[in-house]
């Protein structure tokens, strides 16, 4: 069958069972948009800014097990998409981004809306392609999806010049793809796994530390099973929340800069640490040299060999898909006789419970002024802990992670690696489209939300009933906190004057806006949003305490055990 390049692009998306494409049209993608217009199975979501297109595709991917797809035009369309692409890259999210390019003959001529998209995106994609021949479109898109979702997932960009999308050729979608230069490992080395299991069983102070890899590999069930089989304490990083059910006795909360006292202490003083799909990030282990002071054996399971022994020396590396490796560990444990040493484990738990007894997550509530933590707790109550929660970046992100216990994976969407403000609403859009019957809440701040506020319009057009919980403290809260603690209280440019009336702003887009000033009104407003206005977008503008800080805290450059637990520690 002879088709145009543009028609082939759409056929390929259909073959990949793509439900939604998030995008924005422009000159270089006119043929592709024309082909999109003439079919119905791939639905297009028209965003208001290309950055949001990529974030929304990213949110869709994070909340499902699917590859997210974005479509943008050349030049500014592609450069606007870069932040979204880099955000997905840092968190290993599978995306395919299709960008238009100026016609082949115009490339390099400084043509209108021309940029070197492949060059600009090269450092922040898993891979990218410039398709110069219409006959290569189908195989390239097949490769792009394959690369995006296999191995360590990531965004893949396909740049298609306008003339290539117009040319015709015989179309056939390749059934399989093989690339001699790309063969990701799936199964872990059984000898290494055996060693790991023996090391784990002999541990006196064991700790399980898991990250986004557990979520990406859909291995929450296996992690839970292994953890319960062993009876060891477990912590989930910011990216790994929901990998193990929060609230369970074995769960110690999140580790790291704003993690719990018990998680950080147990990480630090463990004698055997099992790291699963996590990468010993600077926000998680603090100063590496301080972390290395305590002798401990480290087992590290990761699909990406370059994540192993990158920041921390690992004793038992296991390269492979987290799910496969955990399954093999469970198999070996269940078939063997050996069990953990009960006396040692009891003593270790006694110590862990002592740490937990410090109650580091307690904050001083108030009847006068809304505490941001209180809003998150109420949101958890009102949604029964069953919502998909997205966040932007800053204090509100940490409070969301700390006070909304996630019991399932793919319920918590945030930009952990790149820390991109402005992801919250687009993530919620992608998640709500993927899960039309679920409650989707976006916990944000007045600064972050303004970075993609234009998407209120997209939400109206596509009737997305997301609930925006704006923790409005009139400050770039995290910046203010650091300025208070480390820069002598000089609040350089962290205060925002002239904020809009967010409730009215939301109303002007046709949504519901509610301003909440008093602690006693928080729960009522949330209930109103999730029941009375169930099918509408509600913008809840909570006026929260501008002086509240995120604790516990490990300062940058300090060790994990050197925590500030509350304002009294200062």
């Amino acid at each position: 069958m002879v088709l145009t390049g543009a028609e082939i692009v759409i056929r390929c998306l259909q073959e990949e069972k793509v439900e939604y494409v998030f995008g924005y049209p422009g000159g270089a993608v006119l043929y592709i948009y024309d082909a999109l217009f003439q079919q119905e199975s791939v639905r297009h979501v028209l965003v208001r800014h290309e950055q949001a297109a990529v974030h929304a595709a990213d949110g869709y991917a994070r909340s499902t097990e699917q590859v997210g797809v974005a479509l943008v035009t050349s030049g500014p369309g592609a450069t606007n998409a870069v932040t979204g692409i880099a955000t997905a890259f840092c968190d290993s999210i599978p995306l395919v981004i299709i960008s238009g390019q100026v016609p082949t003959a115009a490339i390099g001529q400084d043509a209108f809306q021309e940029v070197d998209t492949v060059g600009i995106t090269r450092p922040c994609v898993k891979h990218n392609f410039l398709v110069k021949d219409v006959r290569e479109i189908a195989s390239t898109i097949k490769k792009a999806f394959y690369l995006a979702k296999t191995g360590r997932p990531g965004p893949v960009l396909v740049d298609i010049p306008k003339d290539v999308s117009m040319h015709q050729c015989e179309y056939e979608y390749p059934k399989e793809i093989s690339m001699r230069s790309y063969n990701p490992v799936v199964k872990g080395h059984s000898g290494q796994i055996k060693k790991a299991v023996q090391l784990l069983l002999g541990a006196k102070r064991p700790m399980i530390y898991t990250g986004g890899g557990v979520v990406l590999s859909n291995a929450a069930e296996q992690l839970t099973k292994l953890t319960r089989l062993l009876g060891y304490p477990v912590t989930n990083t910011l990216m790994g929340l929901g990998g193990y059910p929060a609230g369970d006795r074995q769960y110690l909360g999140m580790p790291g800069m704003h993690g719990t006292y018990e998680a950080n202490m147990a990480m630090h003083y463990s004698d055997v640490l099992l790291a699963v799909g996590a990468r010993f990030d600077d926000r998680v282990i603090g100063l590496p040299s301080h972390f290395a002071e305590e002798p401990r054996k480290i087992i590290h399971i990761d699909i990406d060999p370059s994540s192993i022994s990158k920041r921390v020396k690992v004793d038992v590396p296991i390269v492979g898909d987290v799910k496969e490796v955990l399954e093999e560990m469970i198999r070996q444990l269940e078939s063997g006789e050996a069990r953990p040493n009960p006396e040692a484990l009891a003593a270790w738990w006694k110590q862990v419970e002592e740490w937990r007894g410090r109650n580091c997550m307690v904050y001083k509530n108030s009847d006068e002024i809304i505490k941001p933590q209180f809003v998150v707790q109420k949101l958890w109550e009102v949604t029964g802990g069953e919502a998909i929660v997205t966040s932007d970046v800053g204090q509100h992100q940490m409070w969301a992670a700390q006070y909304y216990p996630f019991t399932k994976p793919r319920r918590w969407l945030n930009s952990g690696g790149l820390g991109t403000m402005g992801v919250g609403m687009p993530y919620a859009m992608g998640a709500q489209l993927a899960h039309p019957d679920m409650q989707v809440a976006c916990i944000t701040g007045e600064a972050s939300i303004q970075m993609n506020i234009q998407e209120l319009s997209t939400c109206k057009q596509f009737r997305l009933p997301i609930k925006i919980c704006n923790l409005n403290n009139r400050y770039l809260g995290m910046v203010r906190q650091w300025q208070q603690l480390f820069h002598g209280g000089r609040y350089s440019e962290s205060y925002m004057d002239s904020l809009p009336d967010f409730a009215k702003l939301a109303e002007s887009y046709g949504h519901v806006g509610i301003r909440v000033d008093k602690p006693s009104d928080v729960e009522g407003a949330l209930r109103e949003a999730f029941t009375t206005h169930k099918n509408e977008l509600v913008f809840l503008d909570f006026q929260v305490d501008p002086t509240e800080n995120v604790y516990p805290m490990v300062q940058g450059g300090k060790g994990l055990t050197e925590m500030i637990l509350s304002a009294e520690d200062l």
């Binding site: 450092p123 001699r180 230069s181 370059s306």
Partner: protein
């Protein structure tokens, strides 16, 4: 420590920038980098001379392996290997210098491949040390121009880097 890393990479446009971009983005050193297609025109062979601690070299090889277009990576300096570099030097050659330069060229088993009444172009292959020594043996004021290819490397004996 100095290391010589050899790799096979798909011969596609942009492949070189992926490798060089990786080094600059992660702050690794490149002392030299050479690249050309192999007998199989769909693949290029690259030789990178770099320096770094064992941890950094481990990361470099892992990060190179992670690039989608990289087919194989070997640190050939981990075992017996041969390194060669080509150098072309244009030397001012007048009067009594002409004979003296000719003698030095012979000592280094180099070749004069272009002659004018005022200059020679000398071609010399060898490891980096030999090339450096040749330059050291020529009066600096006489050296008009130097071009070096960067190092090419290959393992000795049975060690073969092939698909």
């Amino acid at each position: 420590m100095r290391h010589v890393i050899s790799l096979l990479i798909e011969n596609e446009s942009g492949a070189l920038s992926r490798v060089s971009g990786l080094f600059s983005a992660r702050g690794y050193n490149i002392e030299s980098l050479t690249v050309a297609p192999t007998e199989d025109a769909s693949m290029s062979r690259m030789t990178i001379v770099t320096t770094g601690s064992d941890d950094i070299i481990e990361q470099i090889t892992k990060q190179l392996n992670k690039l989608v277009e990289v087919v194989k990576v070997v640190d050939i300096s981990e075992a017996a290997h041969i390194e060669r570099e080509l150098m072309l030097v244009k030397i001012r050659a007048t009067g009594k210098d002409r004979e003296e330069i000719k003698r030095t060229v012979d000592i280094f088993r180099a070749r004069i491949i272009d002659v004018t009444d005022a200059s020679y172009v000398v071609e010399l292959t060898g490891n980096q040390g030999k090339l450096d020594a040749f330059l050291g043996a020529i009066e600096p004021a006489l050296i008009l121009e130097t071009v070096r290819s960067g190092v090419c490397g290959i393992g000795r004996g049975d060690r073969v880097l092939k698909l």
